[in-house]
């Protein structure tokens, strides 16, 4: 096959490689999760049947769950089913894993989405202000320092104490019903979830904007009489967007992992809380499915960042 050496060809190859790499990552991760759980100490059978079960009952159960087959065989079986959208049955609740995960996924998705919006809008917004003016920088670095230094659970408790208990503006726990009610229930958790990463994104944005505004090409544009607003959009922010988007993407990926803790603290019934419950009850089919969802979310976000970088930086497009 003849290689296409135009920039567009290089970009297309790069995109194809990025997407293929993402697929490979998910596949590898699925095996690692599967094998890791199989090797983990503790036995789902004792969890299911209790410590007093007879050896015979245990053996029966092992056979029914297919736990005696070789690992690779079990993985292949699980993968085939999973690719058809069937993640098996929960060992504890006897429900389809997909039925268990589906509604909780919507809750978690909303929570992470709200937190991501806060990280991106407030984090980047504060960062731009901080990067552009001296006084702004002082205010922003104070806020950022606070956001990074205060541990998430302390912030969460403070938020609950002030806005839920004292002021009564928000509920203290639960996930709500209907979109608006859910948004209302998830506001405090989303704020708690976004603080650390929001601070990180602000800080990085401020640094990137400050650095960009000192660049020679910014001076070139100013020296040609180009209005300040245009210089800001076409040069400073345009070029700061590359590192800022990378950081935001990593932050959003981090939110996916962070939601596990926050759901627990605010008693939000999402996949994070489900994961923790399932781990302690050794409900392997659920743990595998939820872990995989987290991995997929992570990989999707990081792949999007890679693709955005290709779109934003022409030099990225050229190197293949």
């Amino acid at each position: 096959m003849k290689r296409d050496h135009t920039p567009r060809g290089a970009a297309a190859r790069k995109i194809a490689a990025t997407v293929a790499g993402a697929g490979a990552t998910v596949l590898t991760a699925s095996f690692v999760i599967f094998a890791g759980l199989a090797a983990a100490p503790g036995d789902p059978v004792s969890q299911l049947l209790g410590a007093k079960a007879t050896d015979e009952a245990r053996a029966n159960m092992r056979r029914r769950l297919g736990l005696d087959d070789p690992l690779l065989e079990r993985y292949r079986h699980w993968l085939t089913e999973a690719l058809h959208g069937d993640f098996g049955i929960s060992l504890t609740s006897r429900q389809e894993v997909t039925d268990l995960v589906g509604p909780r996924l919507a809750t978690t998705f909303l929570l992470v989405g709200m937190a991501a919006l806060l990280v991106v809008v407030v984090g980047i917004g504060l960062g731009v202000v901080g990067g552009l003016s001296r006084r702004g920088r002082a205010v922003v670095s104070a806020l950022v320092g606070l956001g990074i230094a205060v541990p998430g659970f302390v912030a969460a408790n403070a938020l609950i104490g002030v806005f839920a208990v004292d002021l009564g503006w928000f509920p203290t726990y639960g996930s709500g019903h209907g979109l608006l009610d859910r948004v209302w229930h998830l506001t405090l958790p989303a704020v708690a979830l976004s603080i650390g990463y929001g601070a990180y994104v602000s800080q990085l944005t401020a640094a990137a904007v400050a650095e960009e505004s000192e660049k020679e090409y910014v001076m070139t544009a100013r020296g040609r009489g180009v209005p300040a607003g245009v210089v800001l959009r076409h040069h400073t922010l345009r070029n700061a967007a590359v590192p800022v988007l990378t950081a935001s993407g990593l932050a959003v990926a981090g939110l996916v992992a962070g939601t596990v803790v926050v759901e627990q603290m605010f008693a939000v019934d999402g996949v994070g809380a489900l994961l923790i419950r399932s781990i302690s009850s050794k409900d392997h089919p659920v743990v595998t499915a939820v872990s995989l969802i987290i991995v997929v979310a992570f990989v999707v976000v990081t792949t999007l960042i890679d693709l955005l970088q290709v779109a934003l930086d022409p030099r990225e497009r050229a190197t293949s």
Partner: protein, 330 residues
């Protein structure tokens, strides 16, 4: 009476806030460029050439302060309001930077770079600007202009990119071009081509030019007048041909001796010692520590500009040493 020059710097001082105090970058600089004239500003690296140009464009970095008077066509550049400043920068003057790679945004196309100046200052619409840019690109020897417009800076060689910068400078038809070491950052093999193209355009369009370089011979060859700068001050000004034939300031003479001679084999005698920055200069003549003719007075007292043989020279001993300088230079 001769008409007032198009561009004139008088008694320019540039100071930088530094550790609670102030540090002088440029001291008492005066020079002028008449309409249609090319003037060379020459000096070693760090002498304050770029800072002077930035002051003239009002592009000094934060923490610096320019004092004195910079006049363009009678108007006072240092006190221009926002709109007049935009007008001055976008239509009257243009700046060709030393390193095109750093001074052109790598994430935007060549076409976007070329047209942004005239489009965003309301001089042309995009279509007109693009058309004119293509014509100018052909003039400066860029083939395939239409395709280049869609390329990114990293896809062009340094020489080509500097031609793009020249086109950008010419696009609004400015009256004065500041060229700050326009070929220094380029590969030696393309330096003379780019220089020739710049000169051709300047002459054809009768644009005035303030040409900044560390290369006295090059400056003498392409300009009408020279101003030689050392440690933030101008030490000698005069007609280019006369200065290069008969330097009157020991520093100018030293610069001329540093060059490899064309006709005969001459030893290269670099000026001993290292150049000092304006803020490092003591109370006396800032060149005194490196000057073979320095006497007690030179170290104690800063020399004033003296008019001699139609030139301005800042040297206490200019009359005494003129003949000896000539001897050394030949």
């Amino acid at each position: 009476m001769t008409p007032a020059p198009l561009f004139r710097i008088q008694d320019l001082h540039v100071r930088l806030r530094h550790r609670g105090g102030e540090r002088t970058l440029v001291r008492e600089v005066s020079l002028s460029v008449r309409s249609g004239q090319s003037v060379g500003l020459v000096g070693e690296s760090g002498s304050g050439k770029s800072v002077s140009i930035k002051a003239a464009m009002r592009l000094l970095p934060r923490g610096t302060r320019a004092e004195g008077r910079i006049a363009f066509d009678g108007g006072d550049v240092l006190t221009l309001g926002r709109r007049e400043l935009a007008r001055y920068r976008s239509r009257e003057v243009a700046l060709i930077h030393q390193d095109p790679r750093a001074h052109i945004n790598p994430t935007r196309t060549v076409g976007a770079f070329l047209t942004e100046g005239v489009v965003h200052t309301g001089q042309m619409n995009r279509a007109e600007a693009t058309e004119r840019a293509c014509a100018l690109m052909a003039d400066v020897g860029i083939t395939d202009a239409a395709r280049r417009l869609h390329q990114y800076p990293h896809q062009l060689s340094g020489g080509l990119l500097q031609r793009v910068m020249i086109v950008a400078a010419l696009l609004p038809s400015p009256r004065l071009i500041f060229a700050d070491e326009p070929t220094t950052a380029l590969d030696v093999t393309v330096q003379s081509d780019v220089m020739a193209i710049l000169l051709e355009q300047i002459r054809e369009r009768q644009v005035s030019m303030l040409f900044v370089t560390h290369d006295l011979d090059l400056a003498a060859a392409v300009t009408d007048r020279l101003a030689v700068m050392y440690a933030g001050s101008i030490v000698e000004t005069g007609p280019s041909a006369e200065i290069s034939a008969r330097p009157l300031h020991p520093y100018t003479a030293g610069l001329l001796q540093c060059r490899p001679s064309t006709a005969e084999v001459k030893r290269l005698t670099a000026i001993p010692g290292r150049p000092v920055a304006a803020h490092e200069a003591g109370t006396g003549c800032s060149f005194a520590p490196r000057c073979p003719f320095a006497v007690e007075r030179c170290r104690a007292e800063r020399p004033h500009d003296r008019s001699i043989e139609g030139r301005t020279v800042a040297c206490h001993r200019v009359e005494e040493i003129a003949d000896r300088l000539e001897e050394r230079a030949s």
